[in-house]
């Protein structure tokens, strides 16, 4: 039976991706076999099977199991389950023939019905195979039956002809029905697949604003299940606004009217599940009948929340970066003009002015370096040379330099004999530098800052700890995002472009390391950088891992895959 003949598409019915079929096929086939065997075995354990009788065995054994499994088979059709159910059915009735002798005529009728059913459902080939199996079962039963022949020679000769004819007729009827409905079902199935598969939210409504079709993307965008949306009013489900105006579709599709006015896609919005504004890009087109009347309206929506947020973030970043660049430039320009005007300035004052210019120029260079690195990260042009690196001296060096530059005391706590880790020296130094700068910036002067390191079996962990203002859980969630800053707007207390921790995470990823943070408001923050040890990195590379997670998880050996190798299956475990 073709999948397209199976009535309404499961995709359309659920509005979701195709379910995995294999388990259902296997479970169905297994249950049918086990169910049949269990029934006959249970009955055969009775002292006198005949007391139960063939009719009861079929009525209370085979029919419920077969009916249940046939429902499963129709839900998830396939060749494997077709073949298995056919064999299971004939085998079951064959076993009944043996177990409950004296019911031979009934068995013939039952077998004929089973074959007819399978021929109707599965087509001529399956019907003829079923007929052959049934004939074999009857003849086999004749051989097995110890009480003598159950059928006359005439019956035995006639049975193959009758059951074969039934199989052919039933399959012919089904073939005719299939041919008539097949084309339509295929088209419908294809339409369902397209509707379900597209990434955009698609909604089809009546001209009066009642939802008729609703795909899975729409379920996600509008957080509304198909069953809750279809037949409901567009107003109730969508709640769209165009500008400041709430769209009213009760007298016809308001979006279609707006679209006819603008002749372009519309940017609308609605209140999302969290109460935030959810911007959507809407495209609307009418479906017309032969007379040009609108019979349905097809809407497609694209959620542009992420795009809008990215745009807003970029705008904010430009404003912030401009401000960050302008501040040191203003100082530099002020001092250089001052030095030009005061040519006879005493040496100490001149040196002080020049030092300020130099400090601001270095700050400017730092900002530009970060911007360039962000640009390189986004372009995928970071070239790191990963090799075993001794971290202790590098930590001391970076901490010493930054401590001297900022006047903060940074404690370095590295145990003797710390093993090497897998990293790029320059990348690692940059990461630690950014983490320490972060700690300096967000903690009060005079509070301790500690950088420590510790070895585990598979990685070396570097911790940067400060006792500053800390972060809320929401801030922790976003702190590694590009352009993100804990404070925004004119009220922010700290300078910065919001790319420092983004660079940290990007470099950590590129070094197959991980970076995490633990923090609470008012309790400071601890950043943990886990770098793989070389042997773990080698093992990860050998296993084909991409190295995103430094904590290696060893998979249990699979006896199925191992057994496949024994059998010589290509690509099996080696």
């Amino acid at each position: 039976m073709d999948a397209t003949d199976a009535g309404p598409s499961p995709l359309a019915a659920t509005g979701g991706p195709a379910p995995s079929l294999d388990w259902a096929k296997s479970a169905a086939a297994l249950t049918r076999i086990v169910g049949g065997v269990a029934v006959v075995s249970a009955l055969s354990l009775l002292d006198e099977p005949r007391r139960v009788g063939f009719g009861y065995a079929v009525a209370f054994g085979w029919i419920p199991v077969a009916g249940l499994l046939e429902a499963v088979r129709r839900r998830w059709p396939g060749a494997v389950i077709d073949a298995t159910t056919l064999v299971a059915d004939v085998a079951f009735l064959f076993s009944v023939l043996i177990a409950f002798d004296g019911t031979a005529g009934t068995v013939l009728v039952a077998l004929t019905l089973v074959v007819g059913f399978h021929a109707y459902v599965g087509g001529r080939r399956r019907g003829l195979i079923g007929a052959a199996l049934a004939v074999a079962a009857v003849y086999g039963g004749e051989i097995v039956a110890e009480q003598g022949p159950a059928f006359s020679a005439f019956t035995l000769a006639l049975f193959p002809l009758v059951v074969g004819a039934i199989a052919v007729l039933a399959s012919a009827v089904e073939a005719e029905r299939t041919q008539l409905s097949g084309g339509l079902a295929r088209l419908r199935h294809k339409a369902d697949l397209i509707l379900t598969g597209v990434a955009e939210s698609v909604m089809v409504s009546s001209p009066r604003g009642r939802i008729r079709q609703w795909n899975s993307a729409a379920e996600r965008t509008f957080a509304c299940a198909r069953g809750d949306a279809v037949t409901k009013s567009c107003n109730d489900v969508l709640g769209l606004h165009y500008g400041v105006e709430e769209l009213d579709c009760s007298r016809g599709c308001a979006l279609l009217e707006a679209r006819l006015r603008t002749e372009d896609d519309l940017q609308v919005w609605r209140l999302g599940p969290t109460g935030d504004r959810q911007p959507l890009l809407a495209h609307v087109s009418p479906l017309l009948d032969d007379d040009g009347a609108v019979v349905e309206v097809v809407h497609s929506f694209r959620d542009i929340t992420a795009l809008m947020r990215a745009d807003e973030a970029k705008t904010m970043f430009l404003a912030t970066a401009t401000h960050e660049l302008k501040t040191p430039l203003t100082v530099i320009m002020g001092f250089t003009e001052f030095l030009q005007r005061q040519s006879d300035l005493p040496a100490p004052q001149r040196d002080e002015a020049l030092r300020s210019v130099h400090d601001r120029a270095r700050q400017l260079a730092g900002i530009v370096d970060r911007l360039l690195m962000t640009s390189r990260i986004e372009a995928g042009r970071i070239a790191l040379e990963l090799r075993p690196v001794l971290l202790g001296p590098m930590l001391a060096d970076v901490a010493g330099t930054l401590g001297a530059a900022t006047g903060r005391i940074i404690t370095v706590d590295v145990p003797p004999g710390l093993p090497v880790a897998y990293a790029d020296p320059q990348g690692f130094a940059t990461v630690v530098e950014h983490l320490l700068e972060n700690a300096v910036k967000y903690s009060e002067s005079g509070t301790p800052i500690t950088v420590s390191a510790e070895a585990a079996d598979e990685f070396v962990e570097v911790r940067v700890r400060d006792e500053g203002m800390g972060m809320t859980p929401a801030q922790i969630e976003h702190c590694f995002e590009r352009f993100w800053q804990g404070e925004t707007g004119d009220s922010r207390r700290f300078s910065g472009t919001g790319i420092g921790l983004y660079i940290v995470r990007s470099l950590a990823d590129a070094m197959r390391a991980s970076v995490t943070v633990e923090s609470a408001p008012g309790e400071g923050a601890t950043f943990r950088l886990r770098l793989l040890r070389p042997e773990a990195a080698d093992a990860l590379a050998a296993a084909g891992g991409d190295g995103e997670a430094p904590a290696l998880e060893r998979q249990e050996p699979s006896i199925i895959k191992e057994f496949m190798r024994q059998v010589g299956v290509p690509g099996g475990a080696a």
Partner: protein
């Protein structure tokens, strides 16, 4: 211990081994389902294990508890296949525990070289003994599943033997686990042959439980053969294509390796 006692005990051990391995496979399949999906191979082997295992258990129980008198030929075939089965199972346990699950046999030692001859002598002796004991006996429908199983197990054994020969031609040496498994299937087939012989000769009763188990064993073995063959042809997908805990090494195509086996360069 009497012949019956040995037949009963060996069958109970074999039954426990196969059933245990079936349970282990179920556990493995359940564990890998989420990452690798459904495995035809796993299901086929579970079906095999849960028909082979119960067959031996039921036979052992009949012999030990219900008065069935175990035949000497039955003991001979079970004992002949027993070492291979035990070696293979122990290696599987080792693999499950994270060990190699195999031993590489360098070159072709004398005992490996003698296996075909020993098998031939064994088969000839067995046929002679069968003829000596009962001769050609009439067919009984109750042994139909046994006859199917003989053919199917022989076919599976042939596929495995072909694999071992190809691997030997390509890699040199032999896999102990592979040889053991190759040996297990034909001996199982022969064991079913002797079982059928004892049924038609009247020594063993064609009991319902055994008949049912063996009847289910036929589609199970056919399914297993189909799966193995389909995997070789690449017409079905299974866990062998899933990335995971193992490395996939380059392996020559069957045609290439087969041609090499025949001394032909392509």
């Amino acid at each position: 211990m009497t012949v019956s006692g040995w037949v009963g005990v060996l069958n109970l051990i074999l039954g426990s081994v196969y059933t245990s391995y079936g349970i282990m496979t179920i556990v493995d399949m359940k564990r890998g389902w989420r990452t690798h999906g459904f495995s035809h191979f796993g299901l086929a082997w579970i079906a095999m294990a849960f028909t082979c295992g119960p067959h031996h258990l039921v036979h052992g129980a009949h012999v030990l508890l219900e008065g069935r008198i175990g035949g000497p030929l039955d003991l001979a075939v079970v004992a002949f296949g027993f070492p291979a089965g035990v070696i293979w199972f122990l290696l599987r346990l080792e693999a499950v525990a994270g060990g190699p699950g195999d031993r590489r046999i360098q070159g072709t030692p004398a005992w490996v070289e003698s296996l075909p001859t020993v098998s031939g002598v064994y088969l000839a002796a067995l046929v002679t003994a069968v003829i000596g004991v009962g001769g050609a006996l009439p067919f009984r429908p109750a042994i139909t599943p046994q006859l199917f199983l003989i053919v199917l197990y022989a076919a599976i054994g042939a596929v495995l033997l072909r694999t071992q020969l190809i691997n030997h031609a390509f890699h040199g040496g032999w896999s102990l686990s592979g040889l053991a498994l190759t040996f297990v299937f034909p001996t199982c087939g022969i064991m079913h042959g002797i079982y059928a012989f004892y049924i038609v000769s009247g020594r063993y009763a064609a009991d319902w439980h055994g008949l049912w188990i063996d009847s289910i064993g036929v589609p199970a073995a056919a399914y297993f053969l189909w799966v193995v063959w389909s995997l070789h042809r690449g017409s079905i997908h299974d866990w062998n294509e899933a990335a995971g805990d193992t490395l996939v090494h380059e392996r020559p195509g069957d045609d290439e390796a087969g041609a090499d086996l025949l001394g032909v360069r392509i």
